[in-house]
Symmetry: C2
Subunit: 232 residues, 2 copies
DNA sequence: ACAATAGTGTCTGTGAGACAGTATCGA
DNA sequence: TCGATACTGTCTCACAGACACTATTGT
């Protein structure tokens, strides 16, 4: 078999029997001191009335990142939020209807930006407490439980050497708020003094503070844009 | 539009315009104290006579991991070696012929196992010094330079918190050999005493040593299978 | 004896962890 | 003054980095 023939052969095979490609979206936020994820309740079979990750098929003239951004906009009404590719799932029986390869994306946003009612499928979109969901045995569509577990782990790991925690907060925030975010993502309490030491090089003061609370006010900070070297 | 119609619509669209899905393989090994990668010289257009990553299309009845394992076996003649998914590349113009989404896999092996002449495409398969390649401006096919850079970074990171370094050695090895592997992967020298301290909990002695060298012999070790907790 | 590499002992500084203490608001 | 939360000072211990030293082979 010549190389040319070999190529045409494999090319043809791929034309006639291609899997479908979709992106599944893990949109995380923090609300009421809990890490939550955007899920939709399916209104069709298979897995009718079961919770599932929002997802879209990847268009033939659309990159994966573009498909992810589109999906986030359509399902959660969000633009310009942080996202990164998570993992690609390719088991044969993921979807009983047909072969679908799913590229999952991890996306993080502050609860201020997230407006669930802004998406197109308002009614079926829910914000679910992730850690509670994963401890429970509530059924999830397809292999989405495994995917969510994987995403949850990625967050827990990445918090420790990157700045993803900041994505859960608005531009300006107090240190107690930031510490709460870290504690929620890591799932354990942190010491105030130590936390502030480690985080100090990553942030800078603003000129205003909280007010109105029945206790000492708290300075607002923002992320430093310069010299982003040291990490938590 | 009803939910049913909406599903059929997106389903049909995905049927008629699906991208192809391939896996690209980054098979790394260490030879002559250098980190090397398996590349093939393309014998067809596009990028004829240019170095590229070995890859295969994903069969419709094949998982991604299976496709990766098959590709590694076909191109490098290897079975049962370490591999993990790296990243999925989905730009529109990756391949000028058609839309191909590529799931890249990182694979590591000892040079003893790697026998380039065992693959099916013997003639065109080459072992290339990665760091030298990336410093050079030797052209690579498609977006493979970017993919190799990404893989190289993954190795550099993962060496520090996992045991992937061991994959480059046979089951039994001396500590000087292991230290060389770490130094090559990290791209910097390490202190003997410190290295041994850190690595100690991960390994166990065997009952034999090197011999025949004109210097003090060196104990053989193997990886500990129990209590794999502490990392480098 | 010497070259060459394997392997060990130990000092020092940095930084995480732990905890106690002080500061500043509203009521 | 008190409750509540923000913020700071400092001790300790583990450990990474650095370097000097000893050990064991073949020639």
């Amino acid at each position: 078999m010549t190389a040319e023939q070999e190529f045409l052969n494999s090319y043809d095979k791929s034309i006639y029997e291609k899997p479908s490609v979709a992106v599944d979206l893990l949109v995380f936020t923090i609300e009421d001191d809990r890490l939550k994820i955007v899920l939709v309740e399916r209104d069709e079979h298979p897995f009718k009335n079961t919770l599932s990750l929002p997802g879209v098929f990847v268009g033939i003239n659309e990159t994966l990142d573009e498909a992810a951004a589109r999906g986030i906009a359509e399902e959660a009404g969000l633009r310009d939020i942080y996202f990164e590719q998570l993992y690609t799932w390719g088991d044969l029986d993921r979807d009983p209807r047909m072969r679908i390869i799913s590229v999952s994306y991890l996306s993080l946003t502050s609860s201020e930006k997230l407006d669930i009612t802004a998406g197109s499928r308002t009614a079926s979109v829910k914000l679910i407490d992730v850690d509670k969901l994963l401890r429970s045995d509530i059924p999830l569509a397809f292999d989405h439980r495994k995917i969510i577990e994987y995403g949850r782990e990625r967050i827990k790991n990445k918090v420790q050497y990157s700045r993803i925690a900041f994505e859960f907060l608005p531009e300006e925030f107090t240190l107690p708020k930031l510490q709460r975010v870290y504690e929620i993502l890591l799932g354990k309490p942190l010491y105030k003094a130590n936390f502030r030491r480690k985080i100090a090089p990553l942030i800078e003061e603003t000129d205003h503070m909280t007010s109105g609370d029945a206790h000492r006010p708290s300075k607002f900070y923002r992320q430093r844009t310069d010299s982003p070297d040291i990490e938590l």
